[in-house]
C-alpha cells in the first residue's frame, strides 16, 4: 500500500516523465505549494477563529460572531488589520537578527510537513531519515525564539527567550527518546514504513496504532509536545501575566503575524507527528485518508487548547524538575521497556 510521493503522482497524472530532474523540480514546487496552502488554510482557520471559539466555549462566553457566518470572516478582517499595522522597530534592536527571527519561526514549522504522509497520496517526500528530519526541523524553531528574545533589546523578551530555550531543551530529549521507542517497533525512520507498520489489527477491530500498543509512550509524547509548542501548563516563555508576551513583546504588524502563525503551524506539526507515529497516520474507516489526517491534527490542536484553558501554568523551577527528573527518567525507562518487549516478542 506504499503510494508514490506527491511529485511522482503528479507526473504520472499529467503523463510527464518522472525521471527528468527538471520535471520533478517543477512538480515538487507545485506539490510544495499545495502542502503550504493546505497548512496555511488550517492555520488561518485555527489562529484567528477556532482558537477564540474554543477558548470561549471552555470559559462559557460567546466569541467572534459578528462578521460572516459563525464569525468566519474575522479571518480576513484580522489578516488585513494586522498586515496594515505600523511596524515599530524597538530602539537598539539587533537588526538582521530581529528581522530573521519571525522568518525562522514561521518557515521551520512549515518545513516539517515535507515528510508527513497526509493520505490520498498527499505525501511530498519520503526520505529514509523521515522521523529524524522532522524532529531536526521542528527543534530549529528554538533558535528563532532565542533570536527574537535577544534581539528585541527588551528585558521581558530576553527572559522569555531564556525560558523558551530552557523549556525546549528540557523537553526535547524526552520527546525524541519517546519517538525513538516507536522506531523500535517499526524498525525504520521512514514515515511511510512507520504508518504501514500500524495497519495490522491489534485486538479485533482495534488497529495496532502505537498509541494503543504503547499508551505510556503516547502520554509521555503528548506531554512533551505540549512543552515543545509552549502551551499550558508549559507556557512560561510567554506567560502574559508575568513577562508581558515573552520573546514576542516587541513585535508588531507582519512580524507579529509571522510569530503567531509559526506557533500555530508548530502546534499542527506536533499534531501531525503524533498522528503519524502514534495514531496510524491517515488511516481510518470509511472517510478518505486526508479527512482522517485533518481530524487527528485538529484533535491534537483541540487538546492543546483544552490544556490551555484548563491547566494552570507551572513555574520555571517546577518546569525544569518535571523535565529533567520526571520526563527524562520516564522516557529512558520507556525506551528500555519497549526494547525488552520487542526483544521478547520477536
Amino acid at each position: 500500500m506504499q503510494s508514490a510521493p506527491l511529485p511522482e503522482t503528479l507526473a504520472n497524472l499529467l503523463g510527464l516523465d518522472p525521471n527528468s530532474t527538471a520535471v520533478m523540480i517543477v512538480l515538487s514546487l507545485v506539490g510544495a505549494g499545495l502542502i503550504g496552502t493546505l497548512m496555511m488554510t488550517n492555520t488561518a482557520l485555527a489562529g484567528p477563529w477556532a482558537k477564540r471559539k474554543i477558548t470561549a466555549a471552555f470559559t462559557d462566553r460567546i466569541a467572534v460572531d459578528r462578521i460572516g457566518p459563525y464569525g468566519l470572516f474575522i479571518i480576513v478582517a484580522d489578516a488585513v488589520r494586522l498586515l496594515s499595522k505600523e511596524l515599530i522597530v524597538p530602539e537598539g534592536a539587533d537588526r538582521p537578527a530581529w528581522d530573521l527571527a519571525p522568518l525562522i519561526i514561521a518557515s521551520t514549522a512549515l518545513l516539517g510537513f515535507a515528510v508527513i504522509p497526509m493520505g490520498n497520496g498527499i505525501h511530498l517526500a519520503d526520505p529514509e531519515v523521515g522521523l529524524a528530519y522532522v524532529f531536526a526541523v521542528a527543534s530549529t524553531t528554538s533558535i528563532g525564539l532565542v533570536m527574537a528574545g535577544y534581539a528585541s533589546n527588551n528585558k521581558y523578551s530576553f527572559l522569555g527567550g531564556l525560558r523558551a530555550v530552557a523549556q525546549n531543551l528540557a523537553y526535547e530529549i524526552p520527546l525524541i527518546l519517546t519517538g525513538a521507542s516507536v522506531v523500535i517497533f517499526a524498525g525504520s525512520l521512514q514515515m511511510s514504513e512507520i504508518v504501514a507498520a500500524q495497519q495490522q489489527s491489534l485486538i479485533g477491530p482495534l488497529p495496532s496504532w502505537y498509541a494503543f500498543v504503547n499508551p505510556f509512550a503516547f502520554v509521555l509524547f503528548m506531554i512533551a509536545n505540549l512543552a515543545e509548542v509552549g502551551r499550558n501548563p508549559f507556557d512560561i516563555p510567554e506567560a502574559p501575566t508575568e513577562i508581558v508576551a515573552g520573546y514576542q513583546t516587541e513585535y508588531s504588524s507582519v512580524y507579529f503575524v509571522l510569530i503567531y502563525l509559526g506557533e500555530f503551524i508548530h502546534i499542527f506539526l506536533g499534531g501531525a507527528i503524533i498522528a503519524t507515529i502514534f495514531l496510524g497516520g491517515p488511516a481510518g474507516p470509511v472517510l478518505p485518508g486526508i479527512v482522517w489526517f485533518l481530524i487527528k491534527i485538529w484533535g491534537v490542536f483541540l487538546f492543546t487548547q483544552w490544556a490551555r484553558s484548563a491547566v494552570p501554568r507551572v513555574r520555571i523551577d517546577q518546569l525544569i524538575e518535571i523535565g529533567w527528573k520526571g520526563m527524562l527518567v520516564l522516557s529512558l525507562a520507556n525506551l528500555l521497556l519497549t526494547a525488552v518487549i520487542v526483544g521478547v516478542t520477536v
Binding site: 528530519y133 530576553f158 528540557a170 526483544g343
Partner: protein, 137 residues
C-alpha cells in the same frame, strides 16, 4: 524513485516565499509615522533603565544547556540502534542487541544522577529572592 530532497528543497522555497510575500504585502499596506518615544522598548510604561543585554540571569539556564548537549548527543547514538534493534534481536538474540545499550544508558543515568545530586537540575533560588519571600510572612 526520485530524490526526495528535491521535494523538501521545494517546500523550503515555498516556506520562505510565504512569509516573504506577507512581509512584502504588509510593507505596501502599512503606514510609517515615526514619533518621539514610540520606539522605546516596553517596560510596563516606565522609562527603560539600563541595557537589556547586561541583565543578570540565573546560572541554571547555563547548567541545563550544558546537560542538554550530553543527552542530545546520546539521542544521536540511540537512533541508529532503534532502527536495527528488532532485526538484530531476531538474528542474534535479545541480550546481544540490548545489553550494550543498557550499559550505555546506565552510564548516562549515572551522569544524570550525579548532576541531580549536585543540584544541576534543581532550580536554585537566589538568597535575595528567598529573603524577600520571608519578610512578607
Amino acid at each position: 524513485m526520485s530524490n526526495p530532497w528535491i521535494a523538501i528543497g521545494a517546500l523550503a522555497v515555498v516556506a520562505l516565499a510565504i512569509p516573504l510575500t506577507m512581509m512584502a504585502v504588509s510593507s505596501l499596506l502599512r503606514p510609517s509615522v515615526p514619533e518621539q518615544g514610540k520606539r522605546t522598548t516596553y517596560e510596563s510604561g516606565e522609562v527603560p533603565t539600563g541595557s537589556s543585554r547586561q541583565i543578570k540571569f540565573n546560572i541554571q539556564y547555563y547548567m541545563v544547556a550544558l546537560l542538554f548537549v550530553v543527552f542530545d548527543i546520546e539521542t544521536v547514538f540511540i537512533f541508529p540502534w532503534t532502527v536495527i534493534y528488532s532485526d538484530a534481536a531476531a538474528e542474534f538474540g535479545m541480550t546481544t542487541a540490548l545489553l550494550p545499550m543498557v550499559v550505555f544508558i546506565a552510564i548516562l543515568a549515572i551522569g544524570l544522577g550525579w548532576a541531580w545530586r549536585n543540584g544541576a537540575v534543581q532550580w536554585v533560588r537566589s538568597p535575595r529572592a528567598t529573603k524577600g519571600a520571608d519578610t512578607y510572612e
